[in-house]
């Protein structure tokens, strides 16, 4: 059996993309099926490891992990004001602004009631600057 075929079976076992035509061709060989089965058995033997770290390891890790602080995003650390407080401040600002410009609170401005003072006067003299046409 060719090495390329066995390598293809190995990649197939790992869930990698393989050429379906080449795979079908390889699997027609009984030796290929035996290789595939053996690779699966090797995988199973490697993964069936009952060994675990000792109890002292777990005790140490429990201590270490219990001191962990929750991960926070940088902007949460920089701006620790909660969103609800910001919203309340915004609403309060709108209310104060509305109250401040209410018509009853605005003092009448006398300047708007008087015409502006002239800064020059232009006179037109009949017979000089203008004529009456018959």
């Amino acid at each position: 059996m060719k090495d390329e075929s066995m390598e293809l079976l190995s990649a197939f076992l790992d869930g990698e993309d393989v050429d379906p035509g080449a795979l079908a061709e390889a699997l027609t060989d009984p030796a290929a099926r035996e290789v595939l089965r053996d690779f699966a058995l090797v995988r199973s033997a490697v993964r069936e490891d009952p060994d675990r770290p000792g109890s002292a390891f777990y005790a140490r890790m429990e201590r270490e992990l219990s001191t962990e602080r929750p991960a926070t995003r940088w902007w949460r650390r920089v701006v620790p004001i909660p969103a609800s407080a910001l919203a309340a401040m915004l609403v309060a600002g709108v209310l104060v602004g509305t109250w401040a410009v209410m018509p009853s609170r605005v003092a009448p401005d006398r300047a708007f009631e008087q015409p502006p003072e002239p800064d020059r006067i232009v006179e037109f003299v009949e017979g000089v600057d203008w004529m009456v046409r018959e």
Partner: protein, 165 residues
């Protein structure tokens, strides 16, 4: 994701990977602890969902490489007194045979093979961690499987021994 959750999910696979890489369960415990301490210390854990395993195994691999560089020698096969495998003698013998066969693999082949089988990582992730092409990863995993198949057929895994008939 919190470090505690990552620990619960992945500590056994990290421990078993490091045990097979270092050849020592005590060293594997130390390094596994260090992996998760680094996770705790890392402020930003904004690793993309589904990439946590690759991240953990990258840390584990780097720690192993440091140990290996410091020790300046290849890891040895697990000693019999280091394996805490409960059960009957043939189960222990099978386990020892497997560990010895794994320890005999070239270190890079063993590494990519274990990242695949214990870490559950894809060829693309292993390629990124080990700085190899995906074709090289594929070939090395295949070679490791072939070596283990031959080694285990000749020794103690009954299903493989029977398969030779």
């Amino acid at each position: 994701m919190q470090a505690g959750e990552l620990f619960q999910r992945h500590h056994l696979s990290v421990f078993r990977y490091l045990k097979r890489m270092t050849g020592s369960r005590e060293r594997a415990e130390e390094l596994t602890q260090e992996v998760f301490l680094r996770v705790v210390r890392t402020r930003s854990r904004d690793t993309a969902a589904g990439r946590e395993r690759a991240w953990l195994f990258t840390i584990a691999r780097n720690l192993f490489l440091n140990v290996r560089r410091d020790a300046g020698r290849r890891p040895e096969a697990l000693r019999l007194d280091e394996t805490r495998v409960p059960g009957i003698a043939d189960v222990v013998a099978e386990r020892i045979g497997l560990e010895q066969a794994l320890a005999k693999l070239p270190v890079t082949d063993r590494e990519v093979f274990l990242l695949r089988e214990l870490g559950g990582l894809g060829y693309d992730e292993i390629s990124g961690i080990c700085a190899l092409t995906q074709d090289a990863v594929r070939s090395r995993i295949y070679r490791a499987r072939l070596e283990l198949r031959e080694a285990l057929r000749g020794t103690s895994v009954p299903s493989l021994r029977e398969g030779r008939r």
